[in-house]
């Protein structure tokens, strides 16, 4: 059975785009000012990739609007001339979601970084998309409030990017993802209309359009204001690191914690290689040579957390922990998290190059999946470091390689893809938080069938009938996914004489 329906092919067919001409550039400059425009080739290259540096495309133009109205006006010009546009926040995404389109423009939201209002009584804030994730929590900290999603890049990454990717973080096991913490969006449609999705009330009447935009990776429109839900800081937070003699023992401890009815704020696991890299980078006090370390954090009401924290320690002991390190204060806790959150970047300390992978498995398949990854790593002759959110089965295997060795990059990429397909076989997902982007569009067929993809393409077409909003991301383009071009089929718009093919 083919991976795509005829309808799907028609919906995602690449239409010919317009051209970014000097006249177009001048029109954009008139909207945003020369200061909001980047067209020097050297400067444009700054935008040629996001956190996924393996793919690079130089955009024709980068626009840095300062208001919702400016974003909408630029998008209207793009819609008029069918020029593809890609929204970009801090560019920390790991799946190439902000990869530019050749001959298209990048709309950078970095200049829109104001916290517009904070409603303490109702525990919400309205922010512009360029505000950093950590910046939101910093802005409301004096009210004992915080924004719960906490991706590892939180100091740099923006809320606009978090909305696009539906970002999670270490604490989403208990608190959920960005989608669970966004009440309303000001949204510029691919036609350039400005609408509100969501609102003051917890629910709106009718299908939840806000929910489908969240996590749509910039393919349905551009978010220019975000109303976020804030949480009261918990009364107490308790954190420990438990070392285990092998990953299976750590995995069993996690299962026992869950079986005891405890919902930890976070449960993270690092393997020996990951610990080595983290210690070399930030000296966070993890035990070198330890085969598996668990970071467990509980938060909430003191009486309850104390009771459950004692239980967690007992479970770790029962599963053969070789060392229990309990954070005595906030500083010590911060040190533990610094080590964990530095994990990806720390790989540079132990390997010249590496791929960061992101896959999800049902948590109960943890042991068997780790064993398989180890076998695959041995077979490929490449080291794999493992860092993961053990509570929700979100794995981040880091495939280490040396790009200077002929063919190693290809082998590493192949291994990284094989690992994520293993996750799907186990009943999981190709991505838990990094997104599909450009990187995994072709892997969507491993998880979704032809009809599933067709319905997603219909949703996309409902928002963006011209296919100009971050094209090529999320949904696979058949001819780029190893499929030989089939017989020529005219697109309906082409048949109607509205467009021509590239």
């Amino acid at each position: 059975m083919t991976a795509y329906t005829e309808e799907y092919r028609g919906l995602v067919a690449q239409l010919s785009g317009g051209e970014v001409t000097e006249a177009f550039r001048r029109e954009v400059a008139a909207l945003v000012g020369e200061g909001g425009l980047i067209s020097e080739p050297a400067q444009l290259r700054t935008y040629e990739c996001d956190g996924l540096t393996g793919y690079r495309v130089t955009p024709a133009l980068v626009v840095l609007p300062a208001t919702t109205e400016e974003v909408a006006a630029v998008v209207r010009l793009c819609a008029r001339d069918r020029i593809p546009f890609v929204a970009r926040g801090a560019g920390t995404g790991l799946s190439g979601g902000a990869l530019p389109v050749a001959d298209g423009i990048v709309i950078g939201l970095a200049r829109m970084r104001a916290v517009l209002s904070v409603d303490v009584a109702d525990q919400r804030a309205v922010v512009q998309p360029g505000v950093t994730n950590a910046g939101i929590s910093a802005a409301v900290a004096r009210h004992d409030l915080y924004f719960a999603p906490d991706p590892s890049s939180q100091v740099v990454c923006t809320i606009g990017g978090n909305v696009a990717e539906n970002s999670g973080g270490a604490h989403c096991l208990k608190y959920g993802f960005t989608t669970n913490h966004v009440l309303a969006l000001t949204f510029v449609t691919p036609d350039g209309d400005v609408v509100t999705l969501g609102g003051d009330a917890p629910d709106q009447v009718g299908p939840d359009l806000r929910a489908v935009v969240l996590g749509s990776e910039g393919t349905l429109g551009i978010v220019t204001e975000v109303t976020v839900r804030l949480l009261r800081r918990p009364e107490v937070v308790r954190t420990l690191v438990a070392d285990f003699p092998h990953p299976e023992a750590a995995g069993n401890a996690v299962s026992d914690i869950v079986a005891a009815g405890i919902v930890p704020a976070a449960v993270e696991m690092l393997d020996e290689l990951a610990i080595e890299a983290c210690e070399k980078a930030v000296q966070a006090g993890y035990t070198l040579g330890c085969p598996a370390a668990l970071v467990v954090e509980l938060d909430g009401v003191a009486a309850e957390v104390d009771e459950e924290f004692a239980q967690v320690q007992e479970i770790c002991r029962r599963n053969g922990t070789t060392n229990l390190r309990v954070a005595d204060d906030a500083q010590e806790r911060a040190r533990i998290w610094k080590g964990r959150k530095a994990a990806f970047a720390a790989m540079g300390r132990i390997s010249p190059d590496y791929f960061v992978q992101d896959g999800v498995i049902p948590r109960t398949k943890l042991g068997s999946t780790l064993t398989r990854i180890r076998q695959m790593s041995d077979e490929a002759g490449l080291r794999v470091a493992n860092v993961f959110h053990a509570g929700d089965g979100n794995l981040h295997p880091l495939v280490l390689y040396n790009g200077a060795v002929d063919g190693e990059a290809e082998r590493a990429e192949h291994l990284a893809t094989a690992i994520v397909e293993l996750c799907v076989e186990q009943g999981g997902s190709i991505t838990g938080e990094h997104g599909v982007g450009s990187d995994k569009a072709c892997s969507m067929t491993a998880m979704f069938g032809p009809d599933d993809l067709t319905v997603m393409a219909r949703v996309r077409a409902a928002f963006d009938p011209q296919g100009i909003c971050n094209p090529g991301k999320v949904l696979p383009t058949p001819r780029l996914c190893g499929e030989r071009p089939g017989p020529y089929r005219p697109h309906p718009l082409e048949a109607a004489g509205v467009i021509e093919r590239m």
Binding site: A201, P202, D203, V301, G427, G432, V474
Partner: protein, 405 residues
Amino acid sequence: MTQTDDTAVVERPATVAEAAELLRGTDGPLLFRGAGTKQRWAGRPVDPAVVVDTTGLSGVLSHEPADMTVAVGAGMPLADLQALLAENGQWLALDPATGAAGATVGGLLATGDSGPRRLRYGALRDLVIGVTLVLPDGIVARGGGRVIKNVAGYDLPKLLYGSLGTLGLVAEVVLRLHPVPQASATATVAVPVDRATELALRLRASALEPAAVDWTDADGGTLAVRFEGTPAGVEGRRVAVLDLLGAGAGWSTGEDEDVVWSRLADAERSVGEGTTVAAAGTRPSVTTDVARALEQAGAAAGVRTGLTSRPALGLHTARFDGSPEAVGPAVAAWRERVLALGGSVLLRDRPAAVDAEVDPLGPPPSSVGLLRSLARRLDPSGRCAPGRLGSWLPAPATGEDLARS
């Protein structure tokens, strides 16, 4: 299984494939129905050609207690699911008042119905992780997955939340589960709405983490605040909670606690055929204004009103008793005030005659163009409950096909 229901044919598919075949093989307006507890919410759909009864799709498809997830047919009653999950000390953290009347999982997702403990656990929107959707052309699509954490593809499960059966048939639902809390206790205090709102905000601002905060205007006003967790965790809050609530506050557990919440659920439910029920959503802090506006609207129109609120969430359920000619203007007046406060009002159960007096949905949101565009793509012939979203999603004229390429 086929039977007729007034003019419509009622079909009860036993599998997703049968449902797809049914939708593909029929023409005309469709109405999807689970237990039918919320068929009178929002606009009145045109008479359907086919009613699709989902109660044949009621099996457990997979249940992994250790993964805390379950996949079920959309027609499974919530109460049956809870009984099953309880065997493993788990539950779907959802406690809608309609659960007692047999509400199904699919119907709850499609209507966005929730209960008091939404405060702690979120709505079904926050608990759904996967869905199987059947579109009117018979295409069967899955969205989401079977794991809690997953960002692959568009979030179709959440898109369907509150869709009221207007995009397609919810056939299967995958859910994340929670452990049943070991202990629970509820503090109650008799207070009017302004004090209740103030207390609700103070509870939210505290580190006490209430699981539910409900207020009803019955008997001059009662606020109930629920806490869940370990026995020590619940009991450990008692002093601080009673101190915060002030003089006269009580603390109940066990059967006494159940009585508190079943009374609140009764107050939220429609009491009789003549009652009009409307639901509002607002910022939590304007709860007092919502209640005052209701009193004034009722008094001005000579209509008896009642209110149940979740003042920490900003969700309100109002009841109107009176002649339809009087209830209509009362609802309209209340809605005008709630809209001015930034909220919205949706009609639920009511006598048919009320519809002539007041729009069941209110003014369309700025995003109505996207809604229509989405419906055109997923339901090009406008077959799914046409009329349910009133003027927002107009029913196509006979023979008109909204499809466009």
